[in-house]
């Protein structure tokens, strides 16, 4: 009996050690595990005033437990193919679907966009292609894959038509036999792309679709290196409601998936702060007159208008708003931070702010070198679609170099990149492989966008008229 206390002590120590081991194994998880999804401020969390959810998703790293890692590398190849899918062709002959000057356009160094054709997004797609091309060319100048085999960009068009993008991806996977894919811009086609990628088991890097739901699908093959509209909406909502103290905002957005999905987090944030939209009106992509909607909004006595749509429509909404004597704040998405927007709105733009995906005035040597290289190669300065495509393609090339020619292992390497220092800055990825670098706010001053971080806006050093 005298040994009983000793026995109990041994058991206790064992239990303590045992619990310690259990706790260690439970906490021994990848560092990018989050406690809150999407860096969502508590006041913007759904239902936070009422209850805690039964289950939270997207907090632990996505896994791929399939068989793909066992597939051996091919014995001999002439090039390491990487797929590109994006809207790069403006016009398609309706009769037979033949693209106009496809070869010329793919290889053309300088592209001038002169209007709306089949794809509204072709100018952005061309920038994305140029950024991708530059990354591949530079990798090949450094010797190619493991210093032996050149990388090859296999380019396919996504003309914004739902009927074609899925097939193009299937061709990339099964006919072109690419190792990974970069694409695309439009939310509809991006979703189609990742659903194909999921079944075919191939990594997809997105550098241009900012739809929050794109990544919220639990697909372990999908990566995004651009800050999304969740982050941009939070930054814009903070600015509009907390900094400026606005309370009555109306929405006038594009009647398409981009307009519907990308404004979502701003709308939710406004509601959760107690300032739901006064109204939410729509316009068709390509519209040029918005006076009927603006007159309705004017009568409602709002103190701000937000739009989500393409650059041109956003600019026309602003211009017509000012013509009606509406001097309220005008908010919008990163798509309106373009030379086209500035050209249309002119100098009488008034109070304008937009969410933006990175800090384009960065003096980071890596960014400056990229700007110089891009300008030399294409004869013009890069913008957001080119810069993010360069980063995304560079990440794919890095992952292929490390993993070898196996799609699942390339996926694993991308999943392991919890951070990446690209030309668009230091990116930090969350457990579902989405770049969660905070967005910046672009504010239009004297005909030029200036970019501010959240810290700068709330530092007290800056004053804004509300």
């Amino acid at each position: 009996m005298a040994r009983l206390p000793l026995l109990i002590l041994i058991i206790e120590i064992s239990l303590i050690l045992g619990f310690g081991i259990v706790l260690k194994s439970q906490t021994d998880i990848p560092s990018q595990t989050d406690s809150i999804y999407g860096k969502t401020p508590q006041e913007y969390e759904p239902y936070h005033r009422f209850t805690k959810p039964y289950k939270r998703f997207f907090l632990t790293p996505l896994e791929y437990p399939g068989y793909g890692r066992h597939i051996p590398e091919p014995a001999r190849i002439d090039s390491v193919k990487i797929g590109f899918i994006g809207p790069i062709i403006e016009n398609v002959y309706e009769a037979d679907g033949t693209p106009v000057e496809i070869a010329l356009r793919v290889n053309q160094e300088i592209t001038q966009w002169d209007g709306y054709y089949t794809s509204y997004l072709a100018p952005l797609g061309m920038k994305m292609l140029q950024g991708s091309q530059l990354a591949v060319e530079q990798a090949n100048q450094n010797g190619g894959y493991r210093g032996k085999i050149p990388f090859q960009l296999v380019v396919r068009n996504d003309n914004g038509n739902w009927r074609s993008s899925g097939e193009e991806v299937v061709k990339l996977v099964y006919k072109d036999s690419v190792w990974a894919i970069l694409g695309t811009i439009d939310g509809q086609n991006s979703h189609i792309l990742i659903r194909v990628a999921l079944k075919a088991e191939i990594p997809v890097m997105n550098t241009a679709d900012t739809d929050p739901t794109f990544i919220e699908t639990n697909i372990p093959w999908v990566f995004r290196c651009i800050t999304d509209d969740r982050q941009m909406c939070y930054a814009l909502a903070d600015f509009a409601f907390k900094k400026l103290g606005l309370k009555r905002i109306a929405a006038l957005r594009a009647k398409n998936r981009y307009g519907r999905m990308s404004i979502d987090e701003f709308r939710d944030a406004a509601t959760r702060l107690g300032f739901p939209f006064v109204t939410e009106l729509q316009y068709e992509e390509g519209d040029t007159s918005f006076s009927s909607q603006l007159k309705l909004i004017k009568d409602l006595g709002v103190d701000g208008i937000i739009t989500y749509g393409n650059s041109r429509e956003s600019a026309l909404v602003l211009k017509q708003m000012r013509q009606l004597g509406m001097e309220q704040w005008f908010f919008g998405s990163d798509r309106m931070v373009t030379p086209e927007f500035l050209q249309i709105v002119g100098k009488k733009h008034g109070k304008v702010a937009a969410g933006y995906t990175y800090y384009p005035d960065s003096q980071d040597p890596k960014y400056l070198k990229f700007q110089a290289d891009f300008t030399e190669r294409f004869g013009e300065k890069p913008e957001t679609y080119a810069a993010h495509a360069y980063d995304g393609m560079s990440m794919l090339i890095d992952a292929i170099e490390k993993a070898g020619l196996n799609r699942a292992l390339i996926r694993d390497q991308l999943a392991a990149m919890t951070s990446y220092h690209g030309v668009t800055g230091l990116k930090k990825f969350d457990p579902i492989f989405n770049n969660r670098t905070p967005a910046v706010v672009a504010i239009l001053k004297n005909g030029k966008f200036e970019f501010y971080t959240q810290e700068e806006i709330f530092s007290g050093k800056l004053r804004f008229e509300n």
Binding site: F57, Y67, G166
Partner: protein, 374 residues
């Protein structure tokens, strides 16, 4: 010190209770498939043309197999294959339906439309030569004279008698998104799993739609477990005994027409919430193909599960874990030796069950099979 003694006492008691429960002959357990036959390209000396199994369809005592590189037919130990060399219009067969009236086989070709396999000939339907909405097809099924087709741009319906095509997308049906993943046709209703738009139900008698969405409307949470469909990213629907089983990449849902029940991996025997496909065996039992094994809800009333999976990466054989809710009751070794438990397809053939994975397929021998518990 007294707290540790208390903990030890409780653990001791709980251990005894657990051991007693396992030994208690009065506890009823579900049927467990312990005897399996496995098939890979290697084990069949190439007779199975591809190991990446996308779909399984039983045809009396034969099995049709859709793979990433061809169509297969298994019958009494023999394999027959159709690849592009044998006239198959496209290599990736992702869905199969058998028209019981005509005997024709309908194939969903991933990226190349659909095909009718009749009299040894393939008839190819694409968006360029027919009314098919899109060539990226995920699944199809037969209802009466109609072939219902799940495409990435919406739903197509082809009437075999009239040759008419109907289209259902965001303009003609209550679907916010149009990426249709799966279809299950029954004599009363046709169900669609629509990626991003939950479950759509087509009532054949009323010729009308009903939609089922996640009531909380948020992608990042499930607000309440049993308030409705777990998530709108749905992957499959299976309607049996007037019970709807719906799989998502966030868990499993069951709907009896009045009440919903949700299942996650932390509160049930599901090995993972990432469910590629679900097939109902009855209103009380369903088989979920997850990325970490097969989750079988064997008895709904008692929340009893059998989870088939490889316990470790090095495990040669799969283990069947019998669970009530999340509590492990008993582990049973099986002879199932497929090298990976990424489950994609499942099908019943009498009392047997077939499973398809990312690397091979297997048949569970249902000798003395019984439903429910015994």
């Amino acid at each position: 010190m007294k707290y540790f003694i208390l903990i030890i006492s409780q653990l001791f008691i709980s251990g005894i209770t657990s051991a007693w429960a396992q030994a208690d002959p009065a506890i009823k357990i579900p049927y467990v498939y312990t005897e399996w036959e496995s098939f890979t390209t290697e084990s069949t000396n190439g007779a199975l043309v591809n190991d990446h199994i996308f779909f399984l369809k039983a045809d009396r005592d034969s099995l049709w197999v859709g793979t990433e590189n061809g169509l297969m037919l298994y019958h009494e130990g023999n394999w027959k294959s159709w690849t592009e060399k044998e006239g198959l219009p496209w290599r990736v067969v992702i869905g199969i339906a058998k028209d019981q009236k005509t005997g024709d086989l309908w194939l969903a070709l991933f990226g190349e439309g659909i095909a009718r396999f009749s009299g040894g000939q393939f008839e190819h339907f694409t968006q360029m030569n027919s009314g098919l909405l899109n060539d990226v097809v995920y699944n199809l099924d037969i209802e009466g004279d109609n072939v219902w087709i799940a495409t990435t741009a919406g739903i197509s319906r082809y009437n075999q008698l009239t040759g008419e095509w109907e289209t259902y997308n965001e303009r003609h049906a209550p679907m916010e998104e149009v990426w249709v993943y799966n279809v299950d046709a029954t004599p009363e209703k046709v169900f669609f799993a629509v990626w991003g738009s939950g479950i759509l139900e087509w009532d054949i008698k009323d010729q009308d739609w009903t939609e089922y969405l996640d009531p909380d409307g948020e992608m990042e949470i499930d607000l309440y477990r049993d308030d409705g469909l777990i998530h709108v990213i749905t992957t499959a629907a299976s309607y049996v005994d007037k019970i709807l089983w719906a799989s998502t990449y966030f868990g499993l849902s069951r709907y009896d027409g009045r009440n919903w029940r949700g299942y996650h991996d932390h509160d049930s025997g599901l090995p993972s919430v990432f469910i590629n496909f679900v097939l109902g065996r009855s209103g009380s039992s369903s088989y979920s193909c997850t990325d970490k094994g097969l989750g079988v809800l064997a008895d709904f009333e008692t929340d009893t599960w059998v989870t088939y999976h490889r316990k470790t990466e090095d495990a040669k054989y799969w283990t069947a874990d019998i669970m009530v809710g999340k509590e492990l009751i008993k582990s049973v070794e099986t002879n199932l030796d497929l090298p990976n438990h990424f489950m994609i397809a499942v099908e019943f053939m009498g009392t047997d069950v077939w499973i398809g994975t990312g690397h091979g397929l297997a048949r569970g021998i249902g000798k003395d099979y019984y439903p429910g518990l015994r």
